[in-house]
Every structure is written in C-alpha cells, then in structure tokens.
C-alpha cells in the first residue's frame, strides 16, 4: 500500500510570511501527486497536481510544489501567504493502476495570523 507522510500537522504563520508544507511518499513505482485544500466547512478541492514533465507545478493562487523523485517528496510552498489561505491541506498520491484511487496524507492545518 501507498504511504503518504505529511510531516507537520499544524503550521502557524503570520500574514505575508513564506510557508512550506511538507509531503513525502513511499513508492517504488511511478506515481502521480496531488495537493488538495479544504476550507472550513467545505469539501476538498484540487490545488495542483504533478503528472509528468516539469517537476515544478503551480496553482492559480500562488502556491507551487516541486516533485523530487530522489527524495520522494512533493512539498508545497507559497512565498507570501494571506489570511484567506487558512485551511487544511492534504497531499495525495495515485498509482496508475488503481482505478483512480488516491492515498491521502493526514493533512496539515495552515493557520495564517494577521
């Protein structure tokens, strides 16, 4: 089975500070990588994904993530956070052969303070 580790359960930061949310996965085969975000009282929505090609992927609201195959990591970063980025963030991994199944990490609660 896949294993996805999000190293920090809670990350508090001040507004306009940079942030990194860490994600590591265990796999000996090719995987596809996703970050989802869950705002309070809502379901999850896709933030960004890596399928192939450039190892740096970006979202429309300023987040980026870099696929590092040698370190089996897919960390999420943003150079300057806003209060509206306060949410829970989930890293997820898919193997191509599992009918669309995703394996999720336990989540990181990002709280941005004014």
């Amino acid at each position: 089975a896949q294993s996805v580790t999000q190293l920090d359960s809670q990350v508090p930061v001040f507004e306009e500070a940079p942030v990194e949310l860490r994600c590591n996965y265990s796999s000996s085969v090719s995987v596809y990588l996703f970050w989802y975000v869950q705002y309070p009282n809502q379901g999850l929505q896709l933030l960004l994904k890596y399928l192939s090609g450039s190892t740096l992927v970006e979202s429309i609201n300023g987040f980026e993530a870099e696929f590092n195959k040698s370190q089996t990591s897919f960390h999420l970063r943003k150079p300057s956070v806003h209060i509206s980025d306060t949410a829970e963030y989930f890293c997820a991994v898919s193997r191509g052969s599992t009918l669309g199944r995703l394996y999720f990490g336990r989540g990181t609660q990002l709280t941005v303070w004014p």
């Binding site: 379901g43 999850l44 929505q45 989930f90 191509g96 599992t98 009918l99 669309g100 999720f104 989540g107």
Partner: protein, 116 residues
C-alpha cells in the same frame, strides 16, 4: 462545473439504526468514492466504485456497505450505526479518461454524522 451533492450536511442517529448516506454527481463520472474524515487521521477510504454495480473495499470497510444502482448515485449504508462511526463522511467522484490515476477527484461538501 462538476457538482457532487450529498443528501445531508448534518445527521444525528441513534445507536443501532440503519443509516443511508446518499451521494449524487452530475458529470457522468465512472468512479465514485466514500471517505471518512477524522481529526488527525486525514481521509480514509471506505469503499469505491468504478462502474455501476461494481464496488471495491477501501481501507476501513468494516461496518459499512455501499450500493451503486445508477451511474450518478453512490450510497453508503451503515447497517447498525455505532458511536465509533461518528465522523465526517465525504463523497467524491472522478472520470476515467486516458491514463488511470491521473484524474482529479471532485468532492461533495460532506455529511457530519453523529451517532448517539
């Protein structure tokens, strides 16, 4: 826009009751999923379905069953609700296009179930 709807946002049931959670998607997706979300444990897959009448167990199927009689609808059934099934339940759907595993999942808003 893809829309995944769940029948209730909040539900309170008594121990031993049979509970039905309904999920409907409007984008003709092949795959549908039921997760439960608990603080500190993230999302855990209960069951998923890749076609009508087809189902696969996830990581925590015990105490649950599912039904998919129509493509757009995926039901989660708690045969005899227990207090340890108090949780947030999330439904999701995804298409099956191109290479399996590359498509995003679209989530409903969740049902917060309390079993007393």
């Amino acid at each position: 826009d893809v829309k995944v709807t769940q029948s209730s946002r909040y539900l309170v049931k008594r121990t031993g009751e049979k509970v039905f959670l309904e999920c409907v998607q409007d984008m003709d997706h092949e795959n549908m999923f039921w997760y439960r979300q608990d603080p500190g444990l993230g999302l855990r897959l209960i069951y998923f379905s890749y076609d009508v009448k087809m189902k696969e167990k996830g990581d925590i199927p015990e105490g649950y069953s599912v039904s998919r009689e129509k493509k757009e609808r995926f039901s989660l059934i708690l045969e005899s609700a227990s207090t340890n099934q108090t949780s947030m339940y999330l439904c999701a759907s995804s298409p099956h296009t191109g290479l399996a595993g590359t498509d995003e999942q679209y989530f409903g808003p969740g049902t917060r179930l309390t079993v007393t």
